[in-house]
């Protein structure tokens, strides 16, 4: 059994190796200088688009953005960089980029959100575990990285690509005032974010002001709306107690 693994002369002489992948259309011996577009393989650019498309086309991290920013005076910009003025302010972020360690991110986030004279509190970050029903990966997010429910929603959408959160009202909270809207959401098959608070109770995300949420959230769980229906009574009570 000949096992010529890798050409010793450094040539990408594909045919001579025993390792054949049997690419669709028969294996070619020379390496194409363009990425082979075999069916079933996602081209790289498509992969990126897939991940970021959740925000809508305008929010796709303009990979040409840098060119646009850098060459403010130049006219020959790629056509794809038309920016929609209604684009959300937060730039779409790629996971793990820039390569800044969580440890460092905490410090900066604390600095940006802290007020003058605030005592350096115990934990400078608010890392909570996030799990989503059906997803094998557990994730951690630092709640202090975000300033609103909308930002958190965007970040979670990126992490869990099949996840879309319900609509948030003007104040960034699920419309708890409107009981029937809430019930609609919980009856749908959309995912609903829930969290465990300091008392160990599971609540629907969005029922308290953002800062209070960050302080009290211990863990996040994204479950299907229909499963979260058990949390509805509590949410309903909160509606009533506020009116």
């Amino acid at each position: 059994m000949a096992c010529v693994l890798g050409g010793a002369d450094g040539d990408l002489n594909y045919e001579e190796t025993e390792l054949c992948l049997g690419l669709p259309g028969g294996g070619k011996s020379e390496v194409e200088t363009t990425t082979p577009k075999a069916p079933g393989k996602r081209g790289f650019a498509e992969t990126v688009d897939l991940k970021l498309n959740l925000q809508g086309k305008d929010a796709v991290m303009d990979l040409n953005d840098n060119i646009k920013n850098a060459s403010k005076d130049k006219n020959h910009l790629p056509a794809a960089t038309v920016k929609d003025p209604a684009k959300p302010p937060a730039k779409a972020q790629v996971v793990g980029w820039p390569p800044v360690r969580c440890y460092r991110k905490n410090i900066m986030a604390q600095k940006n959100t802290s007020e003058v004279g605030e005592k350096a509190s115990g934990n400078s970050a608010a890392f909570v575990k996030v799990c989503m029903d059906g997803a094998p990966y557990l994730r951690k997010v630092d709640l202090k990285m975000y300033k609103s429910y909308q930002e958190l929603s965007d970040a979670l959408a990126k992490m869990f690509s099949s996840f879309t959160m319900g609509n948030y009202g003007a104040q960034g909270m699920i419309d708890f005032m409107n009981g029937s809207k809430l019930m609609d959401l919980l009856n749908s098959s959309e995912y609903v974010p829930t969290y465990e608070d300091k008392d160990g109770d599971w609540m629907l995300v969005g029922d308290v002001p953002w800062e209070m949420f960050v302080e009290s959230c211990k863990r996040l769980r994204i479950m299907k709306g229909s499963e979260a229906i058990g949390l509805a009574p509590r949410a309903m009570e909160k509606c009533k107690s506020r009116t």
Binding site: G6, L19, L21, F44, V100, R101, Y103, M108, A135, P136
Partner: protein, 584 residues
């Protein structure tokens, strides 16, 4: 020749070997002949395992029965950036359990990116009577309860260093578990801990340990307590302050300044959280003798930073935020002629627009002014090929060059060209380059340069670069000394990997995520090369449930003599012969 070797008494050889510390030298010695192998293995005291899954604890113990010091590394480097999901692995407990019986005289454990539990720490505390050094670098999984066990039981502890670990901080009470009779502390680094330790316990501890030379406090230690601590340890060589912010009060300032002046041996400073400029002059008297300064948590602006570094004529290492700006780096270049290492971190990595005036020019200045500069980590928002070429020509002695341009695929901002030639200049001129991280818009050409020139390169990090498999092929076929390769979001697929499969056994590890390597190729690699573990991570479920040509999300390949591991979570699949059959 053989007769001569066997007539040489073992004790003499052992004595000679005892002067050899370097692992590579020790490995070379053990290959000379069987008797040297035997003698050497009995007297090797220190082992370093760069990938904890490359070998198993019983194998290590079987070969080296008298080890005193162990260093292990676990997760791949990209775990630092959240690319390795929770639960991947890197558990130290099996190692501790095995060593508890095999190495009762173990003195030192150093771990990096491993999962350490309280059980593991408790086992360490009770198993090794002469335990001296515990370094947990970027580890996680343990709480302050585990630290309490170490403090309470390790009578001969000299070093406890928790650098950048994620600790479940239940309370600061653990520090009080060091008994009053304990006086052997030499080095303590608790900078990553959040909660307050008892200040009086800390002061008493510091005061009764005359050999203390390194003390890195955590943020919760307020500035007005620092002077007291320093006065009890004037022999300190390395200090990490707590929060460096307080209301400006003359008495606090003068006692702080006095305390610093009293520390004649102080050479390294860090900490400086929330630093206010008003208290910086307290350290001016010791600046001229500082060799290492870590201001990467100090949110002070360029004027104050410039004034500070201009006084540090002996500085060899500087870590700082980009608040230093080009102007501060020019001062650094002018005054700090002994500088060897520079790291500039981004203050606002996620901001769209630059918040400071830090450009490629700052790095060029330092490369011109500092002849000993050989290690660079630089975050910026723009770069040119010219700047890179200038840096390369200025500093052919560069050994570590890590550049990060915040925007992926940013071209040369003046010419709009890829940065291929700039990085090409780096690898061409810097013949001893060991580590390289690239950034910006890069085509296959840069990989061609790397393959042709970077002959001493050991570690390469690549993101959002390249056009085709040819790029990866250049690196794998050209870089003779490559040990670690980590790639994300590049259009590299199967061909280069399969053709260079043999190369993978000469490397420690390869990481590829968001690339185009198919499941079929992974299976093939796993089957054909038994001494590689080919691990596929995929959130979408078993890779066998999708077509073979479907690319995998994440791929981690490493050489091993221990076979596939058995502690993988549900989203990791290993591509060995058996599993390949199971999955198909």
């Amino acid at each position: 020749m053989l007769r001569m070797a066997s007539s040489f008494p073992e004790e003499v050889l052992e004595h000679v070997f005892s002067f050899i510390y370097d692992d590579k030298d020790r490995n070379a010695i053990s290959m000379v002949c069987k008797s040297w192998y035997e003698i050497e293995r009995w007297c090797r005291r220190r082992i370093f395992v760069g990938n904890c899954y490359a070998v198993s604890p019983p194998m290590v113990i079987r070969r080296f029965p008298e080890v005193r010091s162990v260093e292990l590394k676990g997760k791949p480097h990209f775990a630092d950036f959240n690319l390795v999901p929770e639960g991947w692995g890197g558990y130290v407990y099996p190692w501790i359990a095995a060593m508890a019986t095999a190495y009762p005289w173990l003195e030192e454990i150093r771990l990096k990116r491993m999962v350490v539990t309280d059980e593991a720490l408790e086992l360490i505390a009770k198993s090794f009577k002469n335990f001296k050094v515990l370094v947990l670098s970027s580890c996680e999984g343990f709480s302050t309860d585990g630290l309490a066990a170490i403090a309470a039981n390790c009578r001969n502890l000299k070093e406890l260093d928790l650098r950048e670990s994620e600790v479940d901080d239940l309370s600061g009470h653990w520090l009080s578990h060091f008994p009053d009779s304990y006086t052997s502390l030499v080095s303590l680094n608790i900078s990553c801990l959040g909660s307050e330790v008892s200040f009086s316990a800390l002061e008493r501890l510091v005061g009764r340990c005359p050999n203390l030379r390194t003390l890195r406090l955590n943020r919760a230690v307020p500035l007005d307590r620092l002077a007291n601590i320093l006065c009890r340890a004037p022999q300190l060589v390395e200090l990490g302050t707590g929060t460096y912010s307080a209301e400006l009060q003359p008495d606090v300032f003068s006692s702080l300044a006095g305390a610093f002046s009293g520390c004649k041996e102080l050479r390294s400073l860090s900490g400086f959280w929330d630093a206010v400029p008003g208290y910086l002059p307290a350290i001016y008297p010791i600046c001229p003798s500082l060799t290492s300064l870590n201001l990467s948590y100090a949110t002070i602006q360029s004027t104050d930073l410039t004034k500070l570094v201009s006084q540090c004529q002996s500085l060899q290492r500087l870590w700082v935020l980009d608040y230093i700006e080009d102007i501060g780096l020019e001062a650094l270049a002018a005054f700090c002629k002994d500088l060897r290492e520079l790291r500039v971190f981004p203050s606002e990595p996620f901001a769209q627009e630059p918040n400071v005036s830090l450009t490629e020019q700052g790095l060029v200045s330092v490369s011109e002014g500092c002849p000993k500069l050989h290690s660079v980590l630089y975050f910026c928002r723009q770069m040119t090929n010219d700047a890179l070429a200038t840096i390369a020509r200025n500093r052919p002695n560069m050994t570590r060059f890590r550049l990060c341009i915040i925007e992926p695929r940013a071209p040369d901002y003046i010419t709009l060209q890829p940065l291929d030639d700039g990085f090409g200049a780096i690898v061409e001129h810097c013949k001893d380059l060991q580590r390289l991280s690239m950034a910006g818009l890069l085509t296959d050409r840069v990989f061609e340069h790397i393959g042709n020139h970077a002959k001493k390169l050991e570690m390469l990090s690549v993101a959002f670069a390249g056009d085709s498999d040819l790029g990866l092929h250049h690196v794998l076929s050209g870089c003779e000394n490559l040990r670690k390769l980590e790639i994300r979001d590049c259009p590299f697929g199967d061909k280069a990997l399969l053709v260079n499969a043999a190369k993978l056994e000469t490397m420690r590890s390869l990481w590829m995520s968001s690339c185009s390597v198919s499941f079929g190729a992974c299976k093939l690699l796993g089957q054909k090369i038994p001494r590689l573990n080919v691990e596929v991570m995929d959130e979408r479920g078993p890779p066998g449930s999708r077509p073979e040509s479907c690319p995998v999300e994440k791929l981690y390949i490493y050489r091993t003599v221990a076979g596939p591991r058995f502690d993988m979570p549900g989203f990791v699949w290993t591509m060995d012969e058996d599993s390949a059959l199971r999955l198909s």
